[in-house]
């Protein structure tokens, strides 16, 4: 739903895409107002995790002004200057750390000082990408834009499963004056599968069973499969029991697809079998590989963001089918930055011929082309 504009103030409705809007407002320096946040719900207004997000944004910026209405159903947000630096944040356990980390990742290159953030909370959540996934798939993506890795790092200090969390990650990100334009139309073929299985406060055999199941599926396709197990103990295992798996497929052109699965929350009544979990994760990874494209489907929006924030040059990338989230993100990009992507459905000629023979239809690929808006990091200091 497009925003209405009242003298340069963007007014949105509803709580969905709250994070996108705050992120883009912060980057563009435009003030926004979000109205009708769960106004018809029994529990109206902002949730704890959203307030926590605002707090985090306040910590990494200087001069941010936030006004909440009495009922909490409307927010006025006027962003300040991105500062970065040393940040410690206790994330809400309603959402995973990924919810917050993705924002920091998007803001990281544009801060005044290199970001060094410590986030505490739930590292593996069902609603958000896990920290493993960000580490495996999103950091290489950022690396494509900043090219030189001086201190881009994500360290999982402690894992924490929902509902109580207790995990901790350290995220470090260098600052850049501007991002490079990126041309990424070839993503190669999957050459190896890696993975991590973690088991927190449960029997270590669980992890091994997950590994066996996942490996069983993946070995049908490629022999180079290696899955680590991470059995945490003591304080490193967080506060709640749980286990899960994340699998990464690396192609020969440094594209990383990642899929993950985790056990249901302890005490929910349902029981997750480790074998099912492993198989499910492997299937998801295969699905991701089938969709293809230069990035994992979860990080299409990050790719779009960084392409749009590049210099005034053409960037082009081919991705798999666009997710709903990406589509909305593209709409928001248009509203905040006025940047429009040229989207084309890609047909590879030679593949078509093959498909005639064997009846194989690859998933549709979408070529995204855009001219960067020439965004420069205005907060960085020059001496």
């Amino acid at each position: 739903m497009p925003a209405t504009i009242h003298n340069d103030l963007l007014v949105y409705k509803g709580s969905n895409f709250f994070r996108q809007r705050l992120l883009l407002a912060t980057l563009s320096g435009r003030a926004i107002k979000i109205e009708d946040i769960r106004s018809t719900h029994d529990d109206p207004g902002l949730r704890e995790y959203e307030v926590s997000l605002i707090r985090l944004l306040d910590k990494v910026t200087n001069g941010t002004r936030v006004e909440l209405s009495q009922t909490g159903t409307s927010v006025y947000y006027q962003p300040g200057i991105l500062v970065g630096g040393q940040v410690t944040h206790n994330c809400s356990t309603q959402r995973g750390i990924g919810y917050y980390l993705e924002i920091l990742l998007a803001l990281g290159p544009f801060c005044k000082e290199p970001m060094n953030a410590v986030l505490q909370g739930v590292t593996h959540s069902a609603l958000d990408v896990s920290v493993d996934k960000i580490k495996a798939a999103a950091l290489p993506l950022l690396l494509k834009f900043i090219l030189v890795d001086d201190g881009l790092e994500l360290k999982v200090v402690r894992r924490g499963a929902p509902p109580l969390g207790g995990g901790e990650v350290v995220f470090k990100c260098p600052v850049r004056r501007h991002l490079r334009p990126l041309q990424w139309t070839k993503w190669g073929r999957v050459k190896r599968i890696r993975g991590v299985v973690y088991a927190l406060r449960v029997s270590p055999t669980m992890a091994n069973r997950v590994v066996d199941a996942a490996k069983g599926v993946m070995l049908n396709f490629i022999p180079d499969v290696y899955i680590n197990t991470d059995q945490c103990r003591g304080s490193n295992a967080g506060k709640s029991p749980g286990f899960g798996v994340s699998l990464v497929a690396e192609t020969d052109d440094k594209t990383f697809y990642c899929a993950e699965a985790k056990s249901t929350v302890a005490g929910a009544g349902e029981i997750t079998l480790p074998e099912d979990l492993g198989r499910e994760c492997a299937q998801r990874l295969l699905d991701e590989i089938y969709r293809g494209g230069a990035v994992d489907s979860c990080f299409q929006w990050l790719l779009a963001l960084w392409m749009a924030l590049g210099q005034k040059d053409v960037s082009e990338c081919i991705v798999g089918p666009l997710s709903d989230y990406t589509i909305t993100f593209l709409q928001h990009l248009k509203e905040f930055f006025g940047v429009m992507f040229k989207l084309e459905v890609q047909r590879s000629g030679s593949d078509d011929e093959d498909s005639d023979d064997e009846g194989v239809t690859p998933a549709s690929k979408i070529k995204m082309t855009c001219v960067g808006i020439g965004y420069v990091n205005i907060s960085k200091r020059t001496l």
Binding site: D8, N16, I81, S364, V371
Partner: protein
């Protein structure tokens, strides 16, 4: 000068090859081999004699080469570049207008009567220029420097360089140096040939030091019949047309427009009612720099920040000639376009073409008319026009009103429109697609699409509203399903899809809940198919643009109407759409591909599905252009062009291969068999690759291993090619949406709510510079920059004195604070700028990217007296360092206290603070006495308010003063006022005066501040110093030699001096009798004393003797006692020992 040689082509000299002369020359050039050294005879043998020297040579060569290298930049010049802005700058009365007239005449062979504002002319097949004259106002000079590509700097040679020229050069240096060509005029005023020569030379060298040595300086030797000499002008125009330009960093990141036409489209009615009403102004001009985005905000220099409310492009009013191959411009292609000067007959508007007739009055004149009758008459004429417009508008409204009343009719209309659009879509030019009507149809279409898709879901979405959670999920899945339909709406497939859906729908009616999983799965499979018009899916909603709000209102009207109509609420399509939006409104935000629904994924391990995937792995089959075997075959085939699979003999084995009928064998089966065209393609590709690797046409001088630089260059080149090629074949409308209005397009910009003064006080001799602002540049914050006072500026600058700064596109007044960065990166407040070094400056102003240059002026008004007084107007120059939302500037603060009471190393200090709270804040702070004893604040005392206990490293004195050194934060005043000189009345545009300095105000109002009483001179009263008498201690006196001994012990009697004292004394003189008596007495006395002395001595001896005796006796006694004691003790111990055994 490479440029000069370009058109100075004469037949070159050809040396004689044969004959006597040639012979002579040969002999002359022949070297006598006999007296040559060995080295000269055979230089190769002596190539490297010293490794050190060779190394030095190599190093020097590399140095020279790396000096030539520049950071490769992506070339962003468009295919059809905008006209080059040639600015003619100089002090008044140097001949600027004459030069422009002459240039125009030499380029297009016509005379222009008035030169006002920018004049665009076509000069050659590939070049257009915009000539603009700069008036003598520092505001225009700044704006011109920001937009000019080439500056012709005119100078009166008979007078020499004037301050304006140096000022302008300085402005240029700050804002990015354009190309500058000097032009010396009035050379005929210097009669003496020798002075002429020396003047030329001195002026040239002065110019070189300012610009760069070797900068081109033109001489226009004089005026004949009011014109410069024709061949000189011709030379100048040739120089202009071959000039090359380097990109400037500010202009390569910002779009800008130099407006060359202005139109006020406010309805006359409103103006008649209130002449000061805010106007709607349309400005026209070429886009320059980088592409201009549609909804970017801009800064109009001299007016302020504005938002472009409508932006569209028009056909080029001064187009480059067509691409036919010919040498010269045709006469009719030498066009001129200068609306402000009233030339360029045809004027294009958004929807009309105006042909200007000579002698007819322009709009502007009409505005100025005051005659009643004429205005009345004109009103009649004009109202006709406005009625037309109103008709159009009201027609529009009628149309939308109709939607309220007759929804069915509206639908029909929509269908009609849609069809129409579909027809016209392809043929539509970009300009039309920007117009409103097309946008509207765009909405309709997308809306309609949605409606159509949602029909099947009517029942469900109505019935199950109560079950919120399920509904959510279902809605999600319905989203999924609508998408492919949305895309394929035009294709046949779309129809069948919808049919299918309807069928499944019927099944759904009763038990859709059970099938949720299936539904999601289906959607999931659907999603993986190709979606055709993905652009519309994503950006469909956006063509609505500004109309969104109106639509909303309409919809709400709809609702009400139908609710009133009957008992049952009829669910309209728009409502359904709204409902769907509402459902989405408060969903949980999730980045996953399958955000909330959980489809059953395909079982990828099954053989059928495995086929889809297997090629995505390195172990799978590769595509034809990657597969090694295929590539090999391709190579073979290309080699085989000459001898296709011919016979050859393997020399090693001696085996003979004979050509087989391979084509028959393989050709039928394999599709990938390369055709000739493919091979040709491949060859071309290879050749291009080879060329790019080995050809280096630009600077072939750079040799050696410079692969890093070469790579960078290749990357930049690749990027620039991509930039040019990627949107080439795109539809113009879409291209503009994606890329923005690229430089070179002639655009029309509508600004709403512009100040009326801009139009009424418009003066075309002032350039209208419209600069686009990038992201976040429209925001205001604290800017910190480094700044240096200009060495030609006579005064130093004071903190918090208003200063006019030209930064980025803007000119504004603000209150800066100067500071100095200490070693610990603290900004220490400075009251004045230092003389010859840079310092830091903070001000409240627009955020501008780092490293942007700026210049500062104290006033922009053109008061000649003031200029004369100041001499040079540019007060300071500098560049931006950092931007923030707060500042940290500190000032030194010394708190002073005195001791109240002193214990050993502890003291109570008073007078430093006034309250206990203050003390509490400073607990633990370091303090120091004047004498250097360090200490610490401990705790507040409760008795005298503000006193505290402190400890020191040593005991302090009551007379000590105690300091506490702290820092005090200084705030930057939030004052930012753009210079709005364009709004000032015509004659007084150069008289902008913003905030005045305190000094100015005081001078004007004749206020004199009271002098500090402490600093005032007072009479000095010195009391004579009274010293204490010198007292020499007795002991010391004793040791002194006689002459230093105090001679007399005078007993001072008050009020009497020494002489008086002696006067009162009576001398006593004895008679002989008395003398005798006294001498006898004396003798007796002496005797007696002697006797006494002897006696005393004897007594002493006796006493001593006695004493000794006594001591001896005592000693004996003691000894005896001791022995006795010993005896007794022995006896006692004996007795004790005897007793013991008994016990």
């Amino acid at each position: 000068m490479a440029d000069e040689s370009a058109f100075d082509k004469k037949k070159s000299h050809r040396a004689k090859q044969a004959g006597r002369k040639a012979e002579k020359k040969k002999n002359k050039n022949k070297v006598d081999q006999s007296n040559l050294s060995a080295r000269q005879r055979n230089p190769k043998a002596f190539a490297i004699q010293s490794a050190v020297r060779a190394e030095r040579q190599f190093r020097r060569r590399e140095d020279v080469i790396s000096k030539k290298q520049h950071i490769p930049q992506v070339d962003k010049t468009p295919l059809e570049p905008p006209p080059i802005v040639v600015a003619i700058v100089g002090p008044p009365r140097v001949g600027k207008t004459t030069l422009i007239n002459n240039l125009i005449r030499s380029f297009i062979k016509t005379n222009v009567t008035s030169t006002n504002g920018p004049i665009t002319i076509v000069t050659s097949k590939k070049r257009r220029i915009t000539l603009i004259e700069c008036n003598n106002d520092v505001n225009s000079m700044i704006d011109i420097a920001k937009c000019a590509d080439l500056v012709l700097l005119l100078c009166d040679a008979s007078f020499g360089f004037e301050m304006e020229i140096f000022e302008f050069l300085n402005i240029c240096q700050v804002h990015g140096m354009p190309k500058i060509m000097g032009v010396l005029t009035h050379l005929d005023m210097i009669k003496n040939a020798k002075t002429l020569k020396t003047t030329k030379k001195t002026l040239k060298h002065r110019f070189w030091t300012e610009v760069y040595s070797g900068a081109k300086l033109f001489y226009l030797s004089g005026i004949v019949h009011g014109e410069y000499l024709r061949n000189e002008i011709k030379n100048l125009s040739r120089f202009i047309s071959v000039m090359k330009f380097r990109p400037l960093s500010w202009r390569m990141t910002h779009a800008y427009v130099l407006a060359d036409r202005l139109e006020d489209i406010t309805s006359q009615d409103l103006i008649r009612k209130d002449p000061k009403v805010n106007r709607d102004v349309v400005l026209y001009g070429y886009v320059r720099g980088v592409p201009l985005m549609k909804d970017s905000s801009v800064h109009i220099a001299g007016v302020g920040d504005m938002k472009i409310s409508e932006l569209s492009y028009l056909p080029d009013p001064c187009p480059l000639p067509s691409n036919e191959k010919k040498r010269h411009l045709m006469e009719r292609e030498r066009q001129i376009y200068a609306p402000f000067s009233g030339v360029g007959g045809i004027v294009y508007d958004k929807d009309a073409v105006y042909i200007e007739l000579q002698g007819s009055h322009s709009h502007k004149k009409e505005d100025e008319e005051t005659n009643e009758k004429k205005t009345l008459l004109k009103n009649v004429v004009e109202t006709k026009e406005t009625v037309d417009e109103q008709m159009q508008e009201s027609g529009f409204k009628l149309f939308s009103g109709g939607a309220v009343i007759y929804p069915d009719m509206i639908k029909d209309d929509e269908y009609l429109q849609q069809n129409k659009k579909a027809d016209s879509d392809d043929s539509d030019s970009g300009a039309e697609s920007d117009s409103d009507s097309d946008n509207d149809s765009g909405i309709d279409q997308s809306e309609k699409d949605d409606k159509k898709n949602k029909v099947p879901w009517d029942n469900n979405s109505d019935g199950d509203e109560s079950d919120a959670e399920d509904d959510d999920e279902k809605q999600g899945s319905s989203d999924e399903e609508t998408i492919p339909v949305d895309n394929d709406i035009s294709a046949d497939e779309g129809d069948t899809d919808t049919d299918d859906e309807i069928q499944t729908e019927e099944d759904f009616g009763s038990k859709w809940k059970e099938k949720l999983g299936e539904k999601a799965t289906e959607a999931y499979l659907e999603r993986q198919k190709t979606s055709k018009n993905i652009m519309k899916l994503v950006y469909g909603e956006f063509e609505i643009g500004n109309k969104t709000k109106d639509k909303k209102d309409e919809e709400s009207d709809d609702e009400e109407d139908e609710e009133l109509g009957g008992l049952f609420k009829k669910v309209t399509d728009t409502q359904k759409k709204k409902h769907k939006e509402k459902e989405r409104l408060d969903l949980e935000e999730c980045t996953f591909f399958y955000a909330l629904e959980k489809p059953n994924l395909r079982d990828w391990t099954s053989e059928a599905n495995k086929q889809f995937l297997i090629n995505n792995f390195v172990t799978g089959k590769r595509s034809a252009d990657e597969d090694a075997s295929e590539l090999l075959k391709l190579d073979d085939a290309s080699d085989g062009d000459e001898e296709v699979y011919g016979d050859f003999e393997d020399l090693e084995t001696g085996e003979k291969h004979v050509a087989e009928e391979t084509p028959q064998e393989t050709g039928g089966k394999r599709k990938a068999e390369p055709t000739k065209s493919e091979i040709l393609d491949k060859k071309m590709k290879l050749k291009a690759k080879f060329d790019s690797e080995y050809d280096n046409p630009d600077d072939h001088r750079i040799k050696g291993d410079h692969s890093y630089y070469e790579n960078l260059k290749a990357e930049a080149l690749k990027q620039s090619e991509l930039n040019k090629s990627v949107f080439e074949n795109l539809d113009n409308g879409l291209r503009i949406e994606v890329e923005g209005f690229r430089p070179g397009l002639y655009v029309r910009m509508l600004f709403k709510n512009m100040n009326s003064e801009f139009v009424t006080n418009f003066d075309p001799s002032y350039p209208i510079l419209i600069g686009a602002l990038n992201m976040a540049e429209q925001n205001i914050g604290f800017v910190s920059c480094k700044v240096k006072k200009h060495r030609w500026y006579k005064k130093i600058l004071k903190t918090n004195d208003p200063l006019i700064i030209s930064l980025g596109w803007r000119r504004f007044q603000t209150l800066p604070i100067y500071s100095k960065i200490e070693d610990d990166l603290k900004c220490r407040y400075l009251k004045y700028t230092p003389e010859h070094v840079t310092c830091n400056m903070h001000f409240y102003g627009p955020m501008t990217p780092q490293n942007t240059g700026f210049l500062a002026l104290q006033s922009v008004s053109n008061n000649t007296n003031e200029i004369k007084q100041v001499g040079f107007r540019i007060a300071a120059t500098g560049s931006v360092n950092e931007i923030n939302k707060s500042t940290q500037i500190v000032k030194k603060l010394k708190l002073v206290g005195t001791p109240l009471k002193i214990y050993k190393k502890t003291a109570f200090i008073k007078d430093m603070f006034t309250t206990t709270l203050e003390v509490a804040k400073f607990e633990g702070a370091r303090i120091k006495t004047v004498s250097g004893i360090r200490g610490q604040i401990k705790k507040a005392l409760n008795k005298p308010e503000g006193a505290f206990r402190a400890t020191f490293e040593d005991k302090i004195l009551m007379s000590d003063i105690i300091f506490c050194r702290t820092w005090f934060k200084v705030d930057v005043t939030k004052f930012y006022a753009p210079v709005v000189n364009m709004l000032l009345p015509v004659g007084a545009k150069n008289a902008w005066q913003g905030m005045k300095t305190k000094g100015q105000l005081k001078r004007e109002k004749n206020i004199k501040s009271d002098a500090n009483t402490d600093s005032m001179y007072t009479e000095v009263n010195r009391a004579p110093k009274v010293f204490k008498p010198l007292v020499i201690p007795k002991n010391l006196q004793k040791g002194l030699p006689y002459r230093f001994k105090p001679k007399e012990k005078t007993l001072k009697l008050p009020g009497k001096n020494n002489k008086d004292r002696f006067q009162n004394r009576i001398a006593v003189i004895k008679n002989p009798e008395e003398q005798k008596v006294s001498s006898v007495m004396k003798m007796l006395k002496t005797n007696y004393e002697k006797k006494k002395e002897v006696q005393k001595e004897a007594t002493a001896q006796r006493l001593e003797k006695h004493k000794k005796q006594m001591e001896l006796e005592e000693w004996r006694k003691l000894k005896r006692q001791k022995e006795l004691k010993k005896k007794i003790c022995r006896h006692l111990s004996k007795m004790g020992n005897k007793k013991k055994p008994q016990m």
